[in-house]
């Protein structure tokens, strides 16, 4: 069920109405969110719900375990009950097909139960560590099995074959459950934060399960920390017309970015990357530029929609994008791009590895490792690893050359500052484009070809002679123009929430309100009439 589908709009209208009819009944509201989230997620394949229930059950108990004090046995029954209940519910309708999954689910629940009761034999710090280990193993195990199994086995077989050992990969094709990378990171952060004593565990399974499966951000983030989102499930949500309106407008802007921009420029990128060897330099450059627009509008559009939907239900989700294409350095880029992932990697990987506390060499190593794993998080392919390595390398080089500090010492508004910051922005934009080439290409070889073509476009002068004449350039400019205009306005006004900003304000003048109404109409018309005919799935659903 995609946010940009008619069926989702109907689904959300129902959930929204029922949710606010239940106001003041917080438990009922959370149960409704949980049920709706499971329906939303099960729409792809209901069997994936077993995984999410397993992750929820495990981390609910692990959270209680890592907190320290012993907890009621009843909690374990609740957690196992959730997993068993979901397993039975999703397999019963088609038992002849899913009987193995039913057995696996029941077996998994029993193993989990054995662990839960077994770990109670320990006490003190050992018990806390044991629960933490269980949580990490289960979540990373799910991720490795469902996301990386095929990649690792194929790579291993290729490595053996390359040294002359003929090995055949086991023919196991595992479907990638949508959003698994997002919710496993959420549940991991929950147990780790409790272990670090940064938050207390919850004893309300429904709240926790609703937090893990919260449908607005379940499949593509933002990756919300439990310490920020979980308390919101435990406090009453108050009907607030302004908040609901701003949520709806945020959703609309996200929808516009997705269907009117990302989906319309996607064919330009698809055409360039379909066979880079037979593409011209100019078309490749257009393809990479188009992809940079596509991935930003696709992913930030999804994040805006997620935040808008959550806001309409009375929740606040974190900002996930902060004008990343205005970045002047790689570290600034990662403070602005997919913020929920980069801060997650910082807090749960970079800092535990030692961060910048172990001297320069260790800092560079930690940066590389963090970005390599960040790249791998995006997908099981060498191109993503190369993309991560590339970003790790440029982060390390910029740090080595102390460029961030140097830039900070030049006032941006001075004549010299405009030149220096402009040049830094230009270099970072080129680096970003190189990164996207690695990200979008199917193989490393294709990425090299694409980069060589881009280089040729610049050195041969095609960027000036051929590029402006192409129909593809006009198409890209036509669809990217609203984004560029809005981003410039956001950059210079400091308002990150376009359409939602107090530009309209009931307090605004008549002219301001009329201007806002026209902007709103333009976005609405764009979303309705410029929407691409071919609806594309969100890129980050694959991650």
């Amino acid at each position: 069920m995609l946010f940009n589908s008619a069926i989702f709009l109907g689904f959300f209208a129902l959930v929204f109405s029922a949710y606010w009819l239940l106001r003041q009944r917080i438990v009922a509201q959370n149960m409704l969110i949980l049920g709706a989230s499971y329906i939303f997620y099960g729409w792809w394949d209901s069997r994936f719900l077993i995984l999410i229930a397993a992750s929820t059950a495990c981390d609910y108990i692990c959270g209680l375990g890592v907190a320290g004090p012993r907890f009621a046995r009843f909690e374990k029954f609740k957690a196992i009950g959730l997993m068993l209940g979901v397993t039975i519910l999703v397999t019963l309708p088609n038992l002849s097909r899913d009987y193995l999954i039913l057995c696996g689910g029941i077996g998994g629940a029993l193993v989990l139960a054995a662990f839960f009761f077994g770990l109670e034999q320990f006490s003190g710090p050992v018990r806390r560590k044991a629960y933490l280990t269980l949580s990490i193993l289960l979540n990373l195990g799910l991720l490795c099995t469902f996301k990386y199994f095929g990649f690792f086995t194929e790579s291993l077989v290729a490595a053996f074959n390359s040294i002359g050992l003929q090995v055949h990969a086991p023919m196991v094709h595992i479907l990638l459950p949508v959003g698994i990378s997002f919710y496993t990171f959420q549940t991991l952060s929950y147990t780790i934060d409790i272990y670090r004593k940064q938050m207390k565990p919850t004893t309300r399974l429904v709240d926790f399960a609703a937090y893990v499966a919260f449908f607005p951000q379940l499949v593509a983030g933002p990756i919300e920390r439990a310490k920020k989102l979980l308390p919101q499930f435990q406090t009453p949500r108050v009907w607030d017309g302004d908040k609901i309106q701003s949520g709806a407008l945020l959703f609309l802007w996200g929808l516009f970015k997705k269907i009117a921009i990302a989906d319309n420029v996607a064919p330009l990128a698809n055409a360039a990357f379909a066979d880079p060897a037979s593409t011209t330099p100019s078309l490749m450059l257009i393809g990479v530029l188009a992809f940079s627009v596509q991935i930003y509008c696709d992913f930030s559009g999804y994040s805006d929609m997620a935040r808008g939907l959550a806001r309409m239900l009375g929740f606040d989700l974190m900002l996930n994008f902060n004008l990343p294409y205005f970045s002047r350095t790689p570290s600034e880029f990662w403070r602005r791009w997919h913020i929920s992932l980069s801060t997650w990697l910082r807090d749960y990987l970079y800092v535990p590895l030692g961060g910048n506390r172990g001297g320069k060499i260790m800092t560079y190593r930690n940066l590389m490792l963090t970005m390599l794993l960040g790249g791998l998080w995006h997908g099981a392919a060498w191109t993503f690893i190369a993309w991560g390595a590339f970003h790790g390398a440029i982060l390390a080089i910029y740090r080595m050359a102390n460029i961030d500090r140097g830039l900070a010492s030049v006032p941006a508004r001075s004549g010299q500052g405009i030149l220096v910051h402009g040049a830094a922005w230009g270099v970072m934009t080129m680096l970003t484009l190189i990164g996207w080439t690695l990200f979008r290409a199917e193989t490393i070889g294709e990425a090299w070809t694409a980069m060589a073509l881009m280089g040729e476009a610049v050195t041969s002068g095609a960027i000036i002679t051929t590029l402006p004449m192409l129909a593809q350039t006009k198409t890209l400019l036509f669809y990217a123009a609203p984004l560029i205009l809005v981003q410039l306005w956001q950059r210079f006004s400091g308002e990150l929430e376009f359409l939602v900003s107090p530009l309209d304000g009931r307090s605004g003048s008549m002219v301001q309100r009329f201007a806002h109404f026209n902007v709103l109409l333009a976005v609405l018309c764009g979303a309705v009439f410029l929407a691409a005919e071919d609806v594309q799935e969100f890129i980050y659903f694959d991650f």
């Binding site: 995609l2 008619a6 069926i7 199917e442 109409l521 764009g526 009439f529 594309q536 799935e537």
Partner: protein, 366 residues
């Protein structure tokens, strides 16, 4: 008083929003005006409104569509009985065969007739195509109407939308005993169109308002999407599309194959040879996809199927369009010409004698 004021504001805002949308569309997304005027025929499917003349205009072309009093796209009427010495080719298809977005002189039927005549074959091409038709409706029209004109050759178009059209029409079904007629009637939207045409301002609105056209198209697509379960192009699917894998639509079903077989049998029973002509779809100026990709290989290899893919591939160019790009992606005059040339070549090669080509050439030589 307050309520009245509020109502005034809401109405005013609504009217302003509609005007805004009209201007927005004219500036950023001009619409294609491709009306179709069809009525319910007495034999249970749609036919073109007899004697109707109308214009189609898009941001890149203008065309006049003229129907004769028999509902065929032609300037003259045809007698049921064939004129002496003349052979007849009856064509059945959808808007591609009908020649939407091109004038009569640029349509497939016209080019086919001219090609055949230029090669010395005295033929008349009777165009029974109706926009929106699938194979089931073509077959019904052939049985109930086309055969009455004594055709010597029958050509059915095959487009990738046909399987969905055949399923939707419900005119036939396939069961253990084979192809069975089910519903006697399938005339979608004709009633609505009739009622709408009686509303004052409907005609000028539908022929000038970009907002009306855009909303109608969107609404139609939404309904179609809901009826077909909402097809979504996944990233995987779009990757495959770029590799030209035929994964976008389901293959032809036994119903479609049964309809084609029955059309062939019916034609041949009336002493007319039968052809199935591929209407490729366009991805971009240099990339076309054959509609035959949905058919089994055995059928593609049959001697009565014709595809212009080789011609299209040979003539493709980034600088020239074989399909319009800002309308409903019908064939341009050049696209129609190539399609007709391919069909004419096959007709001459396969049944030049039956169509008197050689006799005419001989007579000309004498």
């Amino acid at each position: 008083m307050k309520g009245l004021k509020l109502t005034g504001w809401v109405l005013g805002a609504g009217v302003y929003a509609a005007l805004f949308a009209e201007v927005f569309l004219r500036v950023f997304a001009p619409q294609a005006f491709i009306p179709r005027h069809v009525v319910a025929a007495e034999y249970g499917v749609r036919m073109n409104q007899p004697s109707k003349v109308y214009r189609q205009h898009t941001p890149e072309t203008v065309a006049t569509i003229e129907m004769n009093s028999q509902g065929l796209r032609a300037r003259q009427n045809y007698s049921l009985k064939k004129p002496d010495g003349i052979k007849r080719i009856a064509i059945f298809g959808d808007s591609y065969f009908l020649g939407f977005e091109v004038n009569l002189e640029d349509s497939f039927a016209w080019h086919l007739e001219q090609n055949m005549r230029a090669a010395g074959c005295p033929v008349e091409v009777l165009n029974f195509a109706v926009s929106g038709f699938g194979t089931a409706e073509m077959l019904r029209t052939l049985e109930e109407r086309g055969l009455g004109f004594e055709p010597d050759a029958v050509i059915f178009s095959w487009h990738h939308t046909d399987p969905a059209d055949n399923m939707r029409s419900g005119l036939y079904k396939i069961d253990d005993s084979g192809l069975q007629p089910t519903n006697a009637r399938y005339v979608p939207t004709t009633g609505v169109q009739e009622k709408l045409s009686k509303i004052p301002f409907y005609e000028p609105l539908s022929s000038t308002s970009h907002l009306y056209i855009a909303l109608r198209e969107k609404g139609g697509r939404l309904i179609k999407n809901i009826l077909t379960g909402g097809a979504v192009v996944t990233k995987e699917a779009s990757k495959l599309e770029t590799l030209e894998q035929p994964n976008d639509r389901p293959p032809a079903s036994p119903l479609d194959l049964g309809l084609i077989a029955l059309a062939k049998k019916t034609s041949e029973a009336a002493n007319a040879s039968f052809y199935l002509l591929d209407i490729p779809t366009v991805q971009n100026r240099t990339w076309f996809r054959s509609g035959f990709r949905l058919l089994p290989q055995k059928l593609i290899d049959a001697d009565y199927t014709v595809s212009p893919m080789a011609q299209f591939e040979a003539e493709k160019s980034p600088d020239e369009k074989l399909y319009w790009e800002k309308g409903h992606r019908h064939l341009t005059p050049k696209g129609n010409r190539l399609l007709a040339a391919e069909m004419a070549d096959r007709l001459r090669a396969a049944q030049g004698n039956d169509l008197n080509c050689h006799a005419a050439q001989k007579a000309a030589r004498l």
